[in-house]
Symmetry: C2
């Protein structure tokens, strides 16, 4: 099988091990941790063309390309990463990782707990925060000898990590790209997360998070969590166009099997997701979302929180995103403007709701590509 010309092709993840103890925001210490990483493109001689990709709730290190020749499904952001794509691997060295607490190879709830006979951490894995993730990403940068990222980029929860980078390590990034994100969750956002969590926590197969030791799995809870999440990822309009009130069998069945196509879709999505994702990781990710609020230590004052940033910003929202609506992005933009920080903002017309950030929408792709390439140093450009 050959890949498209704009694909990064076959990629191989690498594992990085950090043996020093990691102090976490919650007060606990992780004695050691590992990060699963993928890179695409080539690092230039002065290490100035590196872009860090931060993943969202269910993402991981496999952002682009394929894991083997016969792989049918590319990485989760393959639409935007590759030669000539929005994040152009002909120009940039792109680094993607799985965050700690994840379930795709980095240290998380399914990893062995050295403090408990190497049994899986399960519920004993600490509740990590966006700030903790950024701290580990900074440690990874040092390992990769990248002092300054050309850009830190992320959508949704990934955009929160990008924001946190600009606050915590203002000298370590030149550009910050915050897509379909928010400066903090609203009560409604938290409420949806809480329903997802309660779905998992109340599943009898959850065993207080020790399902692996019980040879069990809270599949029902995870399916429900994903179903409710999925509704918030799609716009009402996209759902209407995709399913409307179409019936699976063409007529009402007056029962609880699937009647409407949208039911079938949601159940399928939930089912698929529940096969590949760890329930404790889902809980950790939703809590990281809830906790994120860089303005918290500034008494809720977002401009003050962003006052110390030194990078350029690109903020992008999507017209039909109701999970993190354009007005949430505008809160970030306004806080930056009030600080006289360099910020570009685009509200992209798109039908796919919150999920829009995963699609190669022409104006979005162009905006992203232009922003990332417009501040390239001459020596970086010469590498191309």
């Amino acid at each position: 099988m050959s890949f498209a010309a704009d694909s990064v092709g076959v990629v191989t993840p690498q594992k990085f091990t950090f043996e020093q103890p990691l102090q976490l925001e919650c007060g606990r210490i992780l004695p050691r941790f590992e990060l699963m990483v993928e890179t695409y493109g080539t690092l230039n001689s002065d290490h100035s063309n590196a872009i860090l990709i931060c993943h969202a709730l269910s993402g991981h290190h496999h952002a682009a390309g394929f894991h083997h020749e016969d792989d049918k499904k590319p990485g989760w952001w393959d639409a935007c990463i590759g030669p000539g794509k929005a994040i152009d691997t002909n120009i940039f060295y792109v680094v993607a990782l799985n965050n700690i607490g994840g379930c795709n190879g980095s240290t998380g709830p399914i990893s062995p707990n050295p403090e408990n006979d190497n049994r899986p951490y399960g519920p004993d894995f600490p509740l990590v925060t966006v700030r903790d993730w950024v701290k580990t990403q900074k440690m990874l940068s040092e390992r990769l000898e990248i002092d300054v990222w050309h850009a830190v980029v992320g959508g949704s929860l990934g955009g929160m990590q990008a924001q946190q980078w600009s606050v915590d390590y203002p000298d370590a990034l030149k550009n910050c790209v915050v897509i379909a994100s928010a400066p903090k969750l609203t009560a409604q956002n938290i409420a949806f997360n809480e329903v997802a969590r309660q779905s998992i926590l109340s599943d009898p197969d959850f065993y207080h998070g020790r399902y692996l030791e019980h040879d069990s799995y809270p599949k029902r809870g995870l399916i429900l969590a994903r179903m409710v999440g999925h509704i918030t990822y799609l716009s009402e309009e996209a759902m209407k166009q995709k399913f409307g009130r179409d019936l699976k069998s063409g007529k009402f069945m007056y029962g609880f099997d699937v009647e409407f196509q949208v039911e079938s879709y949601l159940r399928y999505q939930g089912e698929q997701f529940s096969r590949n994702f760890d329930a404790n990781t889902y809980l950790i990710m939703t809590k990281a979302l809830d906790y994120f609020d860089p303005a918290r230590e500034f008494d809720g004052n977002l401009p003050e929180a962003l006052a110390q940033t030194k990078c350029r910003f690109l903020v992008i929202s999507f017209t039909t995103d109701w999970r993190f609506s354009p007005s949430r992005s505008q809160e970030i933009v306004n806080a930056l403007i009030s600080n006289h920080k360099p910020v570009s903002y685009m509200d992209i017309e798109a039908e796919q709701g919150h999920d829009s950030f995963l699609f190669p929408i022409p104006l979005y792709v162009k905006t992203l590509h232009n922003f990332l390439t417009s501040t390239l140093q001459p020596n970086t450009a010469s590498e191309v």
Copy 2:
């Protein structure tokens, strides 16, 4: 204890029994059924001042007043029904009932099934539709000797029943009041219902709906169903004002106990609801919502479906309702206008989202009161 001057005071429900078999839309027949009913105010001599109240998902016959002197909680629409209130019991004879399939005294899943040794129907109770309900409400009207309702009134799922009345029995009502409702559910509406259903259906304590026979109850599922439903009843703004990001203990606890006030509220609401509501009824109600679509037999053409109506309409929506947004009400209004039907429409500024219809918002109360009293016959008015 004495009640407020605008309270209907202590009311006593009545049970009406219908021994004739009822043909249902799903094709099945209910051999007999009972309806629990409450009435407020006095029926005038020519029976022209009667108003029928149709309830929403979790409603019932107890719409106003108290069941005993020490009752702390009045009926679910007490804010709008009583002497001098929006639906004025000094003028009107108000009839409220619990629909079949319900769990508050009318025949439903917890009722004895005469075809199965009088064991509870449970999952054998048929999936009833809005049209079925309206048919039983028509039978009730005949029992009450009300040939023509002055008005049929309902909010949300209740507003769907009011619409169905205008289509199925055009000569049997003078006015139709459709509040915070829609002409049919969208894919997103159905999706939320499906999550609620799957929460219940996948609860191991559900026992395929035969939990009563197993001395069990799908409490977890019902809590989740209500939590997700509740989010859709409140506006994002109301949630923000009510809870914001307030913490229960003032600081992050880094655990899965309640951290944010909104979590506490949702869990409490779910918990309370699960104590008083039957899970099979919840399933039936959500399916009735999904099925409702008076335009279905007119090839999706709503104006055609409403062409046969003869009553005046009042359609009311609320600015922050995102479950059934104002645009959904406007679909009904536009379909009526294209038919040259008499319709008044108000989009009421309100913060409470879908739940707004339960509150005595001044403009809403006045609109409702004016509409209902403006077509009173002189002989009705003289009764006052």
